[in-house]
Symmetry: C2
Subunit: 475 residues, 2 copies
């Protein structure tokens, strides 16, 4: 230490203006602008106040000596999780699902609290399984409590929108060869009047019948003949082809179809059925959503059960509640009332027609794509609203609340930066920045179907609840 240093220490302000000042500004941008307009350079800090009331729990969690290593482990497991499509099977066979039990999206739910589209999808499942002849009869049965409702997530799987799965429906089976986990997802029905958006008219039931009788068995033969299909690799390519994997899945659908096609054309089904199968898949740009979702679920599953980790492993909505689970708090759900998305509407529908946020598809954002990767899919703003600068800003802001950057899933326009992976509950609470989700919007009334697509965030209660539980779990 020199004499000058020592003198400065004794009188800290001495010498302050002897050299060029280094200026930093935090908070409102006008402070930085005022400095910059005087031709001085300024470093801006994007500081935001923490979420109200989380201070003490946040302090406990941030001081937890385990947290850094636990979150690094969660990130490492999430980002190294693989995903291979290995089979296509009926839910009854793969999940042991029996007559009288239906699975659904999101955290646990009872009929009395179910929203319109969830009720519509459950009614449709009753009709499809032949457990009721009319919607009225189905509704009475469901209201009587005779049917068991369980979340898809409690069976290691995921379902988009209402996410209703009944025993006769077929599912994709995916495996993570790195960590040995298995997940699954239903087959995608297309857009418009479809069960997952709460529609249950005859055409919906007929389509489900064809999917179980023709589509599922054909894909089973094709997938078994092809051998494991690397869906993690397909997601990597999708992110270079304008798909963000939640509401743009066109490239993913076509790449997956390309991969099964040599076997599919050779399974020996009649050529008119084969023609109908390729037409059905090819005309449904969202077919691969039901492959990206279980891929994301496998990433989340890999990080489950890490004491001290504040990383989110599940985000899901049932149309009434939004729920999250974290790596450090086991099976506990932290829920809050689902927000209603804002966005663009189909035809003459408007905001008053939209149901609150619904579906397990927010697992894509949990794994770092979907809304977190909108920068790589700027064309999506024509579907969900916003502009291209918003899409870029959405991805950039998600680095503030996540744990790492994915080594394989990259965003070319950001010079191949990896997508932001591993939402950290502590960072969410400290910054007040909520995860950015993009989503389809279901009509609020049972039977309507899709009314639009838009943008939404989880309710803050999910994170305030989780940080309290994480704090309670410390020492």
């Amino acid at each position: 230490m020199t004499a000058t240093d020592s003198a400065s220490q004794a009188m800290p302000l001495r010498g302050l203006l002897a050299s060029e000042p280094q200026i930093a500004a935090a908070g409102a941008p006008m402070f930085a602008e005022a400095v910059r307009s005087q031709a001085a350079s300024v470093t801006e800090l994007d500081w935001r106040p923490p979420i109200d009331g989380t201070g003490p729990a946040l302090a406990t969690v941030m001081a937890d000596a385990r947290r850094e290593a636990a979150n690094a482990l969660a990130f490492e497991r999430m980002s190294t999780a693989g995903s291979e499509l290995v089979d296509v099977r009926p839910a009854s066979e793969m999940l042991g699902l029996t007559r009288g039990t239906f699975l659904h999206a999101g955290p646990p739910l009872t009929w009395d609290r179910a929203s319109g589209p969830m009720r519509g999808a459950l009614i449709g499942a009753m009709l499809f399984e032949g457990m009721a002849d009319t919607a009225q009869e189905a509704e009475r049965e469901l209201a009587s409590g005779a049917i068991t409702l369980e979340p898809c997530h409690h069976h290691r799987g995921v379902g988009p929108m209402a996410g209703v799965v009944s025993p006769s429906m077929w599912v994709f089976e995916l495996r993570d060869p790195t960590h040995g986990n298995t997940s699954w997802c239903s087959l995608n029905e297309g857009l418009g009047k479809v069960l997952r958006y709460g529609a249950y008219e005859q055409s919906v039931i007929d389509r489900l019948g064809w999917m179980s009788a023709v589509l599922g068995p054909a894909l089973q033969q094709a997938v078994r003949a092809t051998g494991p299909i690397d869906v993690k690799g397909i997601v990597a390519q999708m992110l270079q082809m304008g798909d963000e994997g939640h509401n743009r899945n066109r490239a993913g659908t076509l790449m997956w179809l390309r991969d099964v096609l040599p076997a599919l054309t050779n399974v020996g089904i009649p050529s008119d059925q084969l023609s109908e199968v390729v037409r059905f898949i090819g005309s449904n740009d969202h077919f691969a959503l039901n492959l990206t979702m279980p891929t994301a679920k496998l990433a989340g599953m890999a990080a489950e059960g890490i004491p001290g980790s504040t990383v989110v492993v599940t985000m899901a909505r049932n149309g009434t509640d939004f729920g999250i689970r974290t790596a450090g708090t086991g099976d506990a759900w932290f829920t809050g009332p689902a927000n209603t998305p804002e966005g663009l509407f189909l035809g003459s529908y408007g905001p008053e027609d939209a149901n609150p946020d619904i579906g397990d598809s927010a697992i894509t954002e949990t794994a770092g794509f979907g809304g977190f990767a909108m920068a790589t899919a700027p064309a999506i703003v024509k579907l969900v609203g916003g502009d291209v600068q918003f899409a870029l800003a959405a991805t950039r802001s998600m680095y503030e609340i996540t744990t790492g950057e994915h080594p394989v899933w990259q965003v070319p326009i950001l010079e191949f930066r990896g997508v932001p992976v591993g939402i950290d509950v502590a960072k969410v609470c400290r910054t007040g920045l909520l995860p950015q989700i993009n989503t389809g919007m279901a009509g609020a009334q049972a039977g309507v179907g899709q009314v639009g697509a838009g943008l939404v965030n989880p309710p803050v209660e999910c994170f305030t609840g989780a940080i309290e539980a994480l704090a309670a779990e410390v020492g």
Copy 2:
């Protein structure tokens, strides 16, 4: 006019500093930086000196009263040109091509001036047509002048790389329903050891045989059963999916395959042949290049023959010469020595292995995509070199030398700005900015095949020659 105005006129500098000065800077950026560092605002003009020696011709052309309306018409025709795939046929049938005549890429060429890959492809065509038993025999025949060589462009079509088309090869037939033109392109063989890159070993000849015996006829049946396929629309979607349509065609290939698939699976060929056809197309990410190229050619054809227009309607290379044609100068070619691309190399190949620029694929840049749309396909920099900022800058700079922005082919990341269409020879000469092309690189030796991919510009001689001819044509 006030008294003050009048006084200012008499003494022009009086009052100069009475109000905030408006500062503009042209040329080297250091002028603007010096002003900006003093916290004053400055407008920068991106001025560059015109191409050496073009001054008098440029002045004549710029003063031509017809030019503005003629170029507006050329742009309107290029951007409204449609493109529908209507048939797949043998070249002998569609073009009346007879034994002893081969077509090739680029401007006219004779054997003695042909480069290695062009010679290799011509040798391969001799072997494929059974007109020679060995490469040596084929070469002797070709050198003797017994074979007629004509540019694809002289037959209203295009061929990638060497672009060699012989009578037994099959071609895509495309139609512009707006202007009634018809164009065509060969079928794409895939990558690596392929005829268009100058390879002619037995596997190359065998593949061409299978393409004529199985692939072509199957696609013919499928395309005829499907009805016209809107390739202009596919290009619009490609540009939203990370394809720029010259060296990234993966999304386009898969969308096109999706469109023919319902018919293709139902044409009644044996299922093992069908399986091989879908595997061949699905494993060749460039299959759709041979659809984007004739789509671009139809755009160029729509603008041919407009007196006074300085818009480029053809850019093409034969591996020796680069040639352009303009809307205002009829069938005349303006040529210069083809440059050698700079980029990334496959395996152990290096710059010394690369042939000069070759192929009709620069028709994509002529129509506003390919290198002109690299901003929409940032992942391409991993193939052709450069970084993402370069890709964005390349597209932005092409607006400086073009006539308009395409109403349908848009770049999402630039907030859906249309691609730059209609290269204006006058603007190229005035700014010295040359069209940006990205391209595959053929090995300089016959028989080698592809050695890499990279970036290249046309030689300046094409534009100095064209501006002189355009000037001569004025008045």
